[in-house]
Structures are given as C-alpha cells and as structure tokens.
C-alpha cells in the first residue's frame, strides 16, 4: 500500500506536474475554493483541459465534484481562484455568461423546463433547431417531436435531449455530469461515441462519472478530487483504476481499523426486517436484504444509487411500486411516517435540515416524537419530560451551552439531537441512519459509532448508510453495496476494506461473483 501511495504521490506535485496536455489548454482553473457556511466544499481545486481531450473528474462522495462543476459553469460563484478560458481570465457570473464563453454543461438534473415543449426550450436558450435535431438523431433518438412537453418525456430522453441541445450550441468545452446515469445501454454507446468524436474534432470535454468502464473507454486523463482539493492527475492506462481508487481514498487508509469493543454477539435468529425486491422507478430496481436484531448492517453506495429512496420507503415517506417489507415476519406497508414508527422503525434523514426544528429549543426537539400522537395533545408532564430529555442529553453528550434555538448548535450536536430524539422514549426496534456522520467533527463521529454499537448490543437492528468508507469496518457487522438500485455486493464488515467497497460502488464487481454474494445478502 505504502509504496503504491508514494508512486501516486510523485504524480501529484500539483497540476503543473500533470502530464502535458495534448494541445494548448482551453480551460485552466486553479486555486478554486468555496465554502457553504462552516462547510468547506472546495479548498484548492484545479483542472486543466486541452483541446481534443476528454478529462474525467473523479472523487468519492462529498469530494466537491458538483460544486466544482457548478463553479466552472457559472451557476455558483467561487470564493477564490481563477478560471482561464483559452488563455483569457474570465468571470462567469451566470450560466448564460458561461454559455456565451463557449462552455456548455449538461447537469445531472435536466435543465429543460418541464412545462415547456421541446421547441420552446430551444427558443429559450436561443438554440437553432436544425443542429439540435441533427444531434438528437446522431445520439439515437429517432424523430424528436418539438411539440412534446419536456416534463412528459422519460428522464433518459430528457438527458439526451439536453446533450443534443448542448452540442447544437457548438461549445468549445462540454461539461457532462453523470451523463450516462439513467440511460439504457444502447444510448450509452451512442453518447460515448458522439462525445469521443467531439474531442477528436478538436473540442474539449469534462466528464464526470461513477462508471470506471466508461472512463476507461472514453477519457484521456482523470483528475482526482479529494476533500475539495485536486490530489492527482492520471493518464488513462491499464491499471489506472487502482491508482484512482487510492487517490480518492487518500490518507483515509490510515484510519484506525475496527473498534476493539465489538460488544454485540453475532446476530442470529430470524430477521427483524426483511426486504424483498423493493422497486420504485427510476432509482430502485428490485432490492433485497435481511436485517437481524442486534446487527448493524452497513449500506455503501455512490450518490443516487437508490439509497435515499430505500430509506424513505422504510421511513414511511414514500411508497414503493413493488416488493415486500416484513417486520418480524409480518408484512407491512407504510402510508405515513407514523405507521413506520408504530411498527418500530425510526428514520434519521441524511439532511439534518429535514429533521431539525431549527428555531426551537433542544428540549422541544428531543421531546417531539413523544408528543406526535393526538393522545399526547394534553398537558405535558413537564418534570418527566425534563428528566427524559436530560437523560438523552447525558447519554449523547449533547453540548447544550448554546441554549435557545437548535440551529445555534454545532453540526455535530445538531445531529446528536436528531438521533437522540428517538432515544428519549423507548428506543426503536429498527434504526435507520442515513449518513449520520456526514459533515461533522471527528469526536462526534466516534461518539456516534459507539452509540450505534451500544444500541446494537441492546438488540436494536441498525441500517447504517455511510458515505465514509472507513466507518464500515469500524461500526458495521455486515455491509451491502448498492449500484443502480440493486445490491451488487454483500460481505462481512471485517473484510470490507475501502478499495473493495469503492470498486463495488463503481460497479466493478459485477460479473466477478459480486452478484452471487449479493444474493447471499438475502438468503
């Protein structure tokens, strides 16, 4: 490992040391940084792209890819840094300005106005319809109706139309964010060859993708972001995957290994939660797994692989289109979070803003679930509530010095509040934690790992999605990896080293027995 990391490090003395681009750089961005409040999304990102090149922009979840793309395309203003287009320094104040400068993006969410028809969408962006239709045909969409309402078209079609519109603008630099997600394979092939042809014709492309296979086929170089910083720049060659994975993970490989105190016994007995063939288009495509009492089941996936939908369905926020959910052998269907809570499932959402009563006190936040039922609408037993709340505050070591409104707490303490709310009364039977450690400090993270193990030892079943791979061996008993709305790998957490998880999350284990192991997730 160490030797490999050194090898990679020699290549990352900075963007200046990158392999010489094929031609003069069309884009040269350096020192770009951007904060959102206390969160630093980008700290020193740089990227150079030359004419004739397709450059992959890679990074783990939260590495800053989306922020970087938004800045490069004028949708977001950077705090610092400079951007040069064709040698001239530019200030991209809006997407329209970026477009005029020859830089055209295709975002993950289609930028077509859903309530306008395709033709009006072209008019809105002053795109000539002739070249648009040419590119749409080239991309494999036979005859395109200009009078079709954009919102009525399937996501895949919309994304390809978005690309066709971008190509019709004859951009110098095309920025494609997860262009092939949600596309069927035949369209993926068309898209890849059209994009490659663009580069070969002297244009430049920035390509963001979670799919290694496509990057290997399409790209000339890969620029790698970690924690908002550009950490490496690799030419695409056989074996580059290993280097890329390592650069993406970086120093995290040296994180401490599994916690020594793994108290809970090997989970056994009948599953407490049984999920079978859960489906909800377009993200969930038949997902199955079991979760036993006292078990912490890790869930690992890149963004948008169906994990959000899975947690929302289990939490009662969304209804599945197909599939079964059984709790202790009884089939369940949740129409409202109250139903899920009654069945013993409690959800801590990935975005704290969804769970926090930010302008109310810690006490009111912690006591909320106890007051949810109409039965509890009457007088509050204030002393009993105060006792229960202070027990939770003590157990989770919530720092309540910032009295008054919960939004004045630090991020870590806010997260403790959204978790602690479910422990103020009787604990849930199944605890659904969606990325509970995202964006919080190390100390709080450790406390949360300990709490999760503690709960498991009390017999609570925990489903634990995390975007931080080192947490898996530290906290979980088993782990499943999602890709494209399915379980593609399942393994004991002790074997779940990061490179393996990362490869599976990038869909690289498919066809190598990963699917067999995935089947084992739901015996």
């Amino acid at each position: 490992m160490g030797a490999m990391r050194e090898a990679a490090a020699t290549r990352q003395d900075g963007p200046e040391a990158a392999p010489a681009p094929a031609g003069p750089p069309i884009l040269d961005a350096a020192g770009v940084s951007r904060r959102f409040g206390a969160v630093v999304a980008l700290r020193d990102a740089s990227l150079r792209v030359a004419r004739g090149e397709v450059v992959a922009l890679m990074g783990a979840n939260g590495a800053g890819k989306s922020t970087f793309v938004k800045i490069l395309t004028g949708a977001l203003k950077p705090d610092t840094g400079r951007i040069r287009l064709a040698g001239r320094e530019v200030r991209l104040t809006s997407p329209a300005a970026a477009r005029r400068a020859g830089l055209v993006p295709v975002y993950q969410e289609p930028a077509l106005i859903p309530d306008l028809d395709v033709g009006d969408n072209l008019r809105l962006t002053r795109t000539p319809s002739g070249p648009f239709l040419h590119w749409a045909a080239e991309l494999g969409l036979g005859a395109v109706r200009l009078d079709a309402r954009a919102g009525a078209l399937p996501l895949a079609t919309l994304r390809v139309l978005d690309l066709a519109r971008a190509l019709a603008a004859e951009p110098d630099l095309l920025v494609l964010d997860e262009m092939t997600a949600a596309l069927p394979t035949d369209l993926v092939d068309r898209v890849l060859s059209v994009v490659r042809a663009q580069a070969d014709a002297g244009r430049a492309v920035i390509y963001i993708s979670h799919r290694f296979a496509e990057i290997a086929r399409l790209c000339d170089r890969a620029t790698i972001l970690r924690d908002g910083t550009t950490v490496g720049d690799l030419p695409i060659a056989p074996g580059v995957e290993e280097q890329a994975v390592e650069l993406m993970l970086g120093g995290r490989l040296s994180a401490p290994a599994a916690l020594a105190t793994r108290a809970s016994p090997a989970a056994s007995g009948p599953p407490r939660l049984r999920v079978r063939n859960l489906a909800a288009a377009p993200k969930l495509a038949g997902l199955s797994f079991d979760l036993r009492p006292g078990e912490v089941l890790g869930v690992v996936a890149l963004e948008g692989q169906g994990q959000d939908e899975l947690f929302e369905i289990l939490g009662g926020l969304r209804r599945p289109e197909a599939g079964r959910i059984e709790v202790d052998g009884r089939p369940r269907a949740f129409r409202h979070p109250a139903d899920a809570i009654a069945a013993g499932l409690a959800l801590v959402p990935g975005d704290r803003a969804d769970a926090l009563l930010s302008v109310r006190s810690v006490r009111e936040n912690l006591a909320l679930p106890a007051l949810a039922r109409p039965r509890a609408w009457g007088p509050i037993a204030m002393r009993r509530e105060a006792e229960a709340v202070s027990r939770t505050i003590a157990r989770l070591q919530i720092d309540t010095r910032a009295q008054g409104e919960a939004r004045r707490l630090s991020g870590g303490n806010q997260q403790k509040v959204t978790i602690g709310r479910w422990l103020t009364g009787a604990p849930p039977r199944i605890f659904l934690l969606l990325d509970p450690t995202r964006g919080i400090d190390v100390r709080t993270k450790r406390q949360i790992y300990a709490l999760v193990r503690d709960l498991a030892s009390e017999g609570v079943a925990v489903l634990f999605y995390t975007s931080e791979l080192p947490e898996v061996p530290q906290t979980c008993d088993r782990v499943i990896v999602l890709f494209g709305g399915r379980v593609v790998d399942a393994l004991p957490a002790a074997e779940a080293d990061e490179p393996r998880l990362m490869r599976a999350a990038y869909g690289l284990t498919e066809g190598e027995g990963g699917a067999d192991r995935a089947r084992e997730a739901a015996p």
Binding site: A111, L153, P154
Partner: protein, 336 residues
C-alpha cells in the same frame, strides 16, 4: 425504460391531451348557455351583452392573476389595484373632458397600474419575502391609496369610452343582424388580451415567465434572469388589473374606492381554468372560459329566482370547492 417514446404519440393526441381541459371548459360553457336559453327563452343578444359587460372586470382580474400564477407567484392585491385604477380613471376622466384628454387619462391609468405591479414585483424580489406575504400587505396599501384618492364613490367616466363596452358590435357595411350576437365588450376584451398575450406567449419574456414558474433552477441554468422576469410578470399583472379597474368605472360610470370581489373570483377562475397554482402550467384561454362559466352560473341562479345572497353563497362554495379540488390534484401529482 423505453428510450424513444418521443415519436410514439400522434400530434392529435398531444393536442387533445394538452388542450383537453380547455376544450371541456368550452363545451361546459356552451351547455350552460344552452341551459340559460331553456330557463329563459327570451335570453338573446341583450342578455349576452349584459353578461359580457358584467364579466369584463372579472376577465381582466383573472388575466392579471393568470400571468402571475404562471410565473409561480400569486397576487392578492389584484382587487385593490383595480380599485386604485378605477378611482384614478374616474377622477382623471371627470377633469379630462371629452376628447383626446380621455385617452390621456386611460394612458395614465395604465401607467399607474404598471407602477403598482412593478412595486409589488420589486418588493418581492428585493425583500425575498414570499409573494403571498408581500401582496397581502400591498392589498391593504393599495386599498388605502384608493381611499385617499376618493373617500366615497365619485368621479365620472367619459361617455364615448363607455359606449365602447356597451351594446352590440357594429361593423360598417355589414347588416347589424350579422353581428347582433357579438357584444362590443367581448370584442374589446378579445382585442386587448390578444394584443398582449399572443406576442408575449412566444416571446422570450413569455417563455421566461413559464420557465420561472415551472422550475426556477432549470430556468436559471437556461439563462433566464429570475428577478427581472418576476418583476415583468407583476408589472404586466398591474397593467391588466388597471384595465379591469377601468372597465369597472366604465361600466358603472363612477369610481368605487372599495375593492370588489375580484380576488377570490380570479383565483378560482385561474384554478378552474387549468392553471396550476404552483406555476408553469396553463394558458389564458382556460381561465377566461372559467370566468364566463362562473358568470353564467350566477346568471342562471338569478334567472331561477334564487335569492341573490344565496347565489353569492353558492358561488363562493363553488370557488372554494374548485380551489380545494385543485389542492387535492396538486397533492396527488406531487405524490406520484
């Protein structure tokens, strides 16, 4: 996932799907008019003329509300702005005399309307408060302004302008019988709204209004200036509300500072007309048909000798039901 359903649907189906609601409204209106003829066999040109004249302010109020709602907002101050425009017009016309001065007065009223609408829009964009809060406050402000201009009903309307919205259409060279059934007010309404709406609908500003209401992020990424588009939509609503206020003054011959029942009626017509309250969807024709439907319902109830106050209740209940059904539909859509 099928990748190419774009070509799958024939054009007729698309037209029917997109305009089905409007077509349904047109059929409903025709049925209601036929019903009116059955209830009151004497119903003819005069009845139709009175109906359109009464509907005129409602139609302009609804047009104003439609533009704002399509842009994703709502304008609760529509009726108050009409009152301001109405009394301003009455005062100016009283002093303007008969000739070109009256036209100047009309121009001034439209400018006042644009200024009021622009104020609403600028306040919304500037304060970043929700549309509904700002226009609620401005509802009271414009109401007060109207009362300051005229404390009690007063002023006057220029007679030849009043003639414009009274009586059947007369086209020189055609026998009067040929156009007897077309009220002049309808022509005025159609010409004014067509002159504003048709060029707008296809312009980049019009597309921008739809885009902002439909998906603000996508609109921004498509290069639409969000703030300017909103201000433009509210300004246009102010002009349309001013036309509505003028039409009240022309119909009654006097300026009335207390706002009429146009706010709720316009919201109901907008919802019934197939414009989603969330924005981005619908056109002007549907809400206008809805205005006439609601007016014909009122007329029929009156013809059936229902107590006018009961008619008000029924009308109010229909409007509330329409808004509630609209809410339920929107909720179902969000869920799917």
């Amino acid at each position: 996932m099928t990748a190419r359903p774009v070509a799958a649907r024939p054009s007729v189906a698309i037209v029917a799907a997109r305009h089905g609601w409007t077509l349904g409204l047109a059929v409903l209106l025709a049925l209601l008019l036929a019903l009116t003829k059955i209830i009151q066999p004497a119903f003819g040109a005069t009845g139709l003329e009175a109906l359109v004249r009464a509907a005129l302010p409602f139609a302009f109020a609804t047009a104003a509300m439609t533009v704002v709602v399509i842009a994703g907002g709502i304008d609760l101050s529509v009726a108050s702005m009409m009152a301001v425009a109405g009394v301003t017009g009455a005062v100016l016309m009283q002093n303007a005399g008969d000739g070109a001065g009256a036209l100047l007065a009309v121009g001034a009223v439209l400018l006042v309307g644009a200024a009021m609408g622009a104020t609403n829009g600028l306040l919304i964009v500037g304060t970043r408060l929700p549309d509904i809060v700002v226009t609620l406050a401005m509802l009271f402000v414009w109401e007060g302004v109207a009362l300051l201009i005229l404390r009690a009903p007063g002023g006057a309307a220029t007679p030849w302008l009043r003639e414009l919205v009274v009586g059947p259409l007369v086209i020189p060279g055609l026998p009067p019988a040929a156009t007897a059934l077309v009220p002049q007010a309808l022509l005025v309404l159609a010409v004014i709204l067509a002159a504003i709406w048709l060029p707008l609908r296809r312009s980049r500003l019009g597309l921008g209004i739809y885009a902002v209401g439909s998906d603000e992020t996508a609109a921004f990424r498509s290069g639409v200036s969000i703030g300017a588009t909103k201000v433009a939509a509210y300004t246009l609503a102010g002009v349309l509300a001013a036309l509505g206020g003028l039409s009240v003054t022309l119909a009654t011959g006097i300026g009335e500072p207390i706002p009429g029942p146009y706010l709720l009626a316009s919201v109901a017509a907008v919802v019934l007309g197939g414009v989603a309250l969330g924005g981005g969807r619908g056109g002007l024709l549907g809400p206008l048909l809805a205005v006439f439907i609601l007016r014909v319902v009122r007329l029929d109830l009156t013809l059936l000798a229902v107590d006018p106050n009961v008619t008000t209740i029924i009308e109010g209940t229909i409007m509330a039901a329409v808004v509630m059904a609209g809410g339920l539909l929107a909720m179902r859509e969000r869920r799917s």
